[in-house]
Subunit: 164 residues, 2 copies
Amino acid sequence: MFEHQRHKPARALDRPRELVVVCAPLRSNVNFSRIARAAGCCGLQRLIGTGSPKLDLRIARESADCLQIETHRSLAPVLGDLRQAGYRLVGLEQSTGSIDIHVYEFQRRTALVVGNERTGLLPEQLALLDEVIELPVWGMPYSYNVATATAITLYEYCRQYPDG
Amino acid sequence: MFEHQRHKPARALDRPRELVVVCAPLRSNVNFSRIARAAGCCGLQRLIGTGSPKLDLRIARESADCLQIETHRSLAPVLGDLRQAGYRLVGLEQSTGSIDIHVYEFQRRTALVVGNERTGLLPEQLALLDEVIELPVWGMPYSYNVATATAITLYEYCRQYPDG
């Protein structure tokens, strides 16, 4: 009845994805690499890490082949450049004024900014953003792992822009 | 402008979640534990592992406190019991006849069945299911990590049933 299709080819996009993921300095290269894999699956073109992230290819898999992965020492100049280039700077955090992702409408040209595992997005990082969105939580623990939260947010963006 | 809210309390559900996650025997307790964390965040009540999964509490966090985690040696009897109890058995896999999650409408009482990291859901496991859903992939690699895919699917279910 159902036959497994291993390595089914990816879907085509009508236009390149304009979503970029920007990671504040993370603790874990595992999380950075998991974010790369999900970004690759979603057909993103750019992932920007700050601090000193290193990609673990056992986790990131072939995402490294199709995703341009940039690393920069600090976050603020990266966000300044993206704003200049017309990206809406959207943080993923539980904060005052954050918008429930269930009702949030993404701008196509968006930089999704995700924070450190322990600290989340810091006040000086939040101050650089246009908007903050949050994922609803109904149980324990009170927050998702950063790579999980990022993947969920990529899913929602792609649901709104299935063809790019 | 945006102030970080650490450990913001969870949202209330109007009724208990009727979504259960069932894991075919997985290779990795890390993935099982990541699934537990996401299930806990989504307010699920039950997670069923088969094979010999062990929860890593550093990953699963407090999900173990609010989630009933059951383990069974094999998958088939578990699915039989769930079907008896009125659950729709929905696999997460790329298969012939699988339905795009973007258009899929979940039945409230659903058992989400996820497969092994290497093999996915096997033919004899697929044969036990009512439906198969798949996540769209637009790039490389051609599939999401199992814990990431499960978290995305939990998100979509909860988007359809935000209040339980």
